[in-house]
Structures are given as structure tokens and as C-alpha cells.
């Protein structure tokens, strides 16, 4: 490859490197910001190299919290965000795979009607139905609970449609062979369909985890107590607009930490994708 460095090869590389730089620069800036003290950042002369406060800043961010406000340290927020993101990802996948299974493999009255109802909810993300959803959650005493954070977000038309599409490519003979082999609907689901869906599940998990992790509007509404808030809300609340006391080094630490779990999920699941792609039968 090295010897074939023609101009046609260089240009795409240059473009890619520019793209990487554009994406990476703010991340780098955030990282630098998380290693300086408040004064260095506040005077607007932040050096482009890491400062000496790395451990101190991260320790404070996770265990102590910002000093000038009554805000919690982000330890609890990380846990809340995790519970919410994993709850949403697992919940969405479970609900949608079961719905898709019902729609593809069972003949019941109003089957297509249900399918279209699910389809239509594509047009009803939580932002659109926020008032009624809030009302329902409040009536069910779900404010400031994990259930309230998770349940209203887990119905997923996208995932249902994706699984439906996948199930329709599974040969009918597999179901028939299972029936002859004495596997009922539940066994077929567990023993055959679920293992075959592994790659799809992994892909959806990544997407849904990030969706859950980055939720802003819903957790903002449904949580009032500081110990229930999520990391993304926490970042917003640390940035004080009324006076100049925003502790940017702590904000930057939080931003860095908030980025890590999605990155890990992508890396972990990517390996499963690749393995799934190589191993899958069809």
C-alpha cells in the first residue's frame, strides 16, 4: 500500500484527516479544559496542553460536586444515566422483539391493524406527546422514579419494524422444522429466533443505549430531585448563567466522563457485530 501513494490516494486521506480533526478538536478542548483549574480557564488564556489538575478535577467531579452550588457530585448521576440508558435499550429491544414476533409469526384478529398502529407511532416521539405522557406518568406516581424515566420511552416502532424485517427473511422451513422437532412458539423464540437475531440486537443496543444516554427533555421534566437527575441534565445545571461562577473544569470533566460509556458500548458491540456478520448464516 505504501508504494502506491498516488494523488488519488492522498486526497481522500486529507479529507478524512480534516474530518477527524473537526470532530476531535472539541473533544480535545474539553479534555484540556478538564485538566486545568477554574482560574486558568476563566481568564480566557487556557493553554493548548494538559494542565496539572487532572486527578483533582476528576476526583471532585465524581465524589464532591461543584463547590458554589448545592449540586450533587456526578457519581449518582452516572448511575442514574446508566440505569436509564440500559433500561431503555433493554426495554426497547425486549418489547419490540416480542411485538415483531407476534406480528410476523401469529395470525390474530386485527394483526395488520396493530402493525399499522405501531408504525404510526414512528411519528409520535416523546417530544410530540410530552404533555399527555407527563400527565400519565404523574398520575401513576412515576415522577422521580426510574420507571418514570424509562417506561414512557421504551415503545419503539423503529426496532419493531427492524425485527419484523429480519424475521421475514428467516426461512419458514426453520419454523416448520422446529414444530416437527417439538419446539413450541416459546422454544422456537428462545432456541432459534433469538440466537439468529444476535447481530440485530447488538446493533439496536448501541443505537438505543446512546438514545437513552443522551435523553434531555424527558428526564428534565420527570425528575425534580437532584439524586434522580441524569448526567446530561447535570451538565446543564452546572452551567450557571446568572453569575460567572460556572466551574468549567468540572463541567469539562463531566463532559469527558459522559462520553465514555457510549464509546465503550460502541467498541464492545462493534466486535459482536463483526463476529455476527462473519458467523451469520444468511
Amino acid at each position: 500500500m505504501v508504494e502506491r501513494k498516488s494523488i488519488g490516494n492522498v486526497i481522500p486521506h486529507v479529507i478524512l484527516w480534516i474530518g477527524i480533526a473537526i470532530v476531535a478538536f472539541p473533544v480535545y478542548l474539553a479534555f484540556i479544559g478538564s485538566t486545568h483549574d477554574a482560574a486558568t480557564i476563566a481568564n480566557g488564556q487556557m493553554p493548548p496542553t494538559p494542565g496539572p489538575y487532572f486527578f483533582e478535577n476528576y476526583y471532585r467531579t465524581i465524589f464532591v460536586g461543584t463547590s458554589m452550588t448545592t449540586r450533587e457530585p456526578i457519581g449518582t448521576m452516572i448511575i442514574n444515566s446508566f440505569v436509564m440508558a440500559i433500561g431503555i435499550a433493554v426495554g426497547k429491544i425486549s418489547i419490540s422483539i416480542i411485538s415483531a414476533y407476534a406480528i410476523v409469526y401469529f395470525r390474530f384478529p386485527f394483526r395488520m391493524w396493530f402493525f399499522w398502529v405501531i408504525f404510526v407511532t414512528l411519528m409520535l416521539p416523546v417530544e410530540v406527546r410530552i404533555y399527555p405522557t407527563y400527565k400519565v406518568a404523574a398520575d401513576l406516581n412515576l415522577l422521580d422514579t426510574y420507571a418514570g424515566l424509562i417506561l414512557p420511552l421504551i415503545a419503539s416502532a423503529t426496532a419493531t419494524l427492524l425485527f419484523r424485517q429480519f424475521f421475514m427473511t428467516v426461512p419458514d422451513e426453520l419454523v416448520e422444522a422446529s414444530r416437527i422437532d417439538g419446539a413450541g412458539p416459546i422454544r422456537f423464540f428462545w432456541d432459534t429466533l433469538l440466537p439468529l437475531s444476535r447481530t440485530n440486537i447488538a446493533a439496536l443496543f448501541v443505537i438505543m443505549f446512546i438514545y437513552g444516554w443522551t435523553q434531555y427533555l424527558w428526564p428534565l421534566l420527570i425528575t425534580t430531585r437532584d439524586d434522580m437527575q441524569t448526567l446530561i441534565i447535570g451538565i446543564k445545571k452546572m452551567i450557571v448563567t446568572s453569575d460567572a461562577l460556572t466551574e468549567w473544569q468540572v463541567v469539562m470533566c463531566t463532559v469527558m466522563l459522559a462520553m465514555l460509556p457510549p464509546v465503550f458500548v460502541v467498541i464492545a458491540m462493534q466486535r459482536l457485530f463483526v463476529r455476527g456478520l462473519i458467523e451469520s448464516e444468511k
Binding site: L174, A177, T192, P195
Partner: protein
């Protein structure tokens, strides 16, 4: 071990498609029954009703004396081999074979013993740890067979199990399936559209057409006395020559005593292999003769097919042993002994005898 009985079995699909129109026959215990017919004639539908994968619209299906119409496939104690094998892609060969036994709560060591025995019979012992995608077509076919025999069912059902294999493998697997069925003695019903497969495998041949059974019999019986013009043209390759004739035309073709042709005419049939070419116009006494112009000659080595045109445009195929054949364009006379002639009613639905 069981006999399979079908009594006036019908299947009407949604949209009023009548795929099987009242089929009655018995497959005696241990017999190898082959359902043969052109594609779309309802063979698979019939087989799937026996398996329990398709509901029965009307009629009764009995396996081993038990009416199974309302019984789940897994309770019917049958095993099926599918055209595309339908192996579980995520399980290795061992688990593919063991899955049905596990679902029946067979003890673990019995499963192991039966899986290994089936693997030994089919010579796939060294493949037990592989996944289906790591196997060749022929090996997958064996695994699919293994999945059937490991269960020791009352009946094997095969739906065109060899049609995904290449020609050579198809012949060798055909022989193996026959041997295996013989040694296990399990009642088998085998669906195919390939008449050669049907002829070679069957103890009992069921020829189907458009949802109906046209004929049931031993393969050679069906070959020698086809019950309808359809069977005559379907069984045997190349197919029987069929000519629509009235009494006068028949008399012109056949020497000696007149052959019985009903008032409305009849279909006269003669197999390509029963025809010979007489270059000098001489012919077997009292036999059939037909003047042809040779249109094409196909030499395949051991035999040669001569395609001839009759004056009124009908095509006749003559099958000659060896490689000697007249040149294209030659005028020849095809002859046959009169007992080799077949007669059918003018609509082809029935054989005329006597």
C-alpha cells in the same frame, strides 16, 4: 413403523385455491411411496398435511392407525427432510441432531448414543462439531437426513430433498436414501417432480396432476400401463409420443386387424424406445408404421434420439440404441409392434384396454 392412510383428503387454500382435490391412498408399513407430478400439482401440500404443517380442509389422515388431523406435527411422530434442509444455522451438527430429542426430554446419554449412531450410519461423525455453513451441500443433506433418522419416527417425509444438489451427487444420494430406507424399514413418503428419481426410489408410485391422483402403482406398472395420457407423457424420458387419431387415421397407421377406436377418436401413444426405424419400408407384421421426415438427431453416446415430423406437423421422437441414425431430412418409416401401442380416450383422461 406405521402405515399412512389418506382418505378423501382435500386442501383449499385461502382465495379458493383447491390444491388437493380428494386424494385417497394407503402407504403400507415400510413402503417407500413417491409422490410425483409437475410443479404446482399439490404434492408438497399433501405432504405438509401429512406432516401437520398445513390444516386438512376435508378428509382423514391416519398414521399408524391414529387419526392425526388435529394432532400437532411434533405429536405425529414423523420426521421431515426439507428441500433447503432447514438446519438450525446457529447450532452445530450434533445439536441439530439432538434438538428434537432434547425437546422430547430424552435422557442425555440416550441422546448421545442415538446421535452418534445416526452420525455413524450417515458417515458424518467427523462433522459433529461443525456449523451448517461450514458444510457442503451434500453434507448438509446428510445432516438433514440424520435429523430425521435420529428420532426413529413412524414415517419419513421428504420434500424434494435432492433438488438442491448437483446432478452427480443427486444420483449417489438417491441410491443412499434408498439403501437407508431399506435397512431401517421406515415408511417413507417422498415428493419429487423428477420422474427418474420417482421410478428408481418408489415401491409405490403415486402420480399426481392438478390436485388429483392420476395413477397409483409399482413404477414399472405405471410405465407399462399408464392410466392416462398425462401419466404416459410424464413418466418416461423422452416422453411417450401421443397422437390424436380417428378410426380412419388409425387404420392407416396399423396393419392387420383394426384397433378399437371410439367414435370421438382417441389418443394413440407409443414410447420412443418402442419405435424402430425401418429404412426399406419393411415392418413387423400387423404392426404400427408411420412415415417421418427426420428433423433432428441427438447422439448422446449409448443411444440416439431421432426427432421426426409427420405430414400433419406432429413431432415424433424415436429412441435408437447405439449411434447409427439417418441423416437429417431423410424420409424414414418408424415402426412398432402393435402390443406396444397405448390408447387413451380422446380427452386423455383414461386408458382404453382390450
Amino acid at each position: 413403523m406405521a402405515e399412512v392412510r389418506l382418505d378423501a383428503v382435500r386442501k383449499v387454500y385461502a382465495g379458493n385455491v383447491e390444491a388437493v382435490k380428494g386424494v385417497t391412498f394407503d402407504v403400507p408399513d415400510g413402503h417407500f411411496c413417491v409422490l410425483v407430478g409437475p410443479s404446482g400439482c399439490g404434492k408438497s401440500t399433501l405432504l405438509r398435511m401429512i406432516a401437520g404443517l398445513e390444516t386438512v380442509t376435508a378428509g382423514i389422515i391416519t398414521i399408524g392407525g391414529q387419526v392425526v388431523n388435529e394432532i400437532e406435527p411434533s405429536e405425529r411422530d414423523i420426521a421431515m427432510v426439507f428441500q433447503n434442509y432447514a438446519l438450525y444455522p446457529h447450532m452445530n451438527v450434533y445439536n441439530n441432531l439432538a434438538y428434537g430429542l432434547r425437546n422430547r426430554r430424552t435422557p442425555k446419554d440416550e441422546i448421545d448414543q442415538r446421535v452418534r449412531e445416526a452420525a455413524r450410519i450417515l458417515e458424518i461423525e467427523q462433522l459433529l462439531q461443525r456449523r451448517p455453513r461450514e458444510l457442503s451441500g451434500g453434507q448438509r443433506q446428510r445432516v438433514a437426513m440424520g435429523r430425521a433418522i435420529v428420532r426413529k419416527p413412524k414415517a419419513f417425509l421428504f420434500d424434494e430433498p435432492l433438488s438442491n444438489l448437483d446432478a452427480k451427487l443427486r444420483v449417489s444420494m438417491r441410491v443412499e436414501i434408498k439403501k437407508l430406507q431399506r435397512s431401517l424399514g421406515t415408511t417413507s413418503i417422498y415428493v419429487t417432480h423428477d420422474q427418474l428419481e420417482a421410478m428408481t426410489l418408489a415401491d409405490m408410485l403415486v402420480v399426481m396432476n392438478a390436485g388429483n391422483v392420476e395413477q397409483i402403482g409399482l413404477p414399472l406398472e405405471v410405465y407399462e400401463k399408464p392410466a392416462s395420457a398425462f401419466v404416459a407423457s410424464f413418466i418416461g424420458a423422452p416422453p411417450m409420443n401421443l397422437m390424436k387419431v380417428d378410426a380412419a387415421q388409425a387404420a392407416a397407421m396399423i396393419e392387420g386387424a383394426a384397433i378399437g377406436i371410439p367414435a370421438g377418436g382417441a389418443i394413440l401413444g407409443v414410447r420412443p424406445e418402442d419405435l424402430a426405424l425401418s429404412l426399406d419400408g419393411s415392418q413387423p407384421n400387423g404392426g404400427f408404421k408411420l412415415d417421418l421426415t427426420v428433423a433432428a438427431v441427438e447422439r448422446v453416446g449409448p443411444e440416439t434420439f431421432v426427432y421426426g415430423n409427420v405430414l400433419d406437423g406432429a413431432d415424433i421422437i424415436v429412441r435408437l440404441p447405439g449411434q447409427d441414425a439417418p441423416a437429417t431430412g431423410a424420409r424414414v418409416t418408424a415402426v412398432a409392434r402393435r402390443e406396444k401401442l397405448h390408447r387413451f380416450t380422446a380427452d386423455g383422461s383414461r386408458r382404453l384396454d382390450g
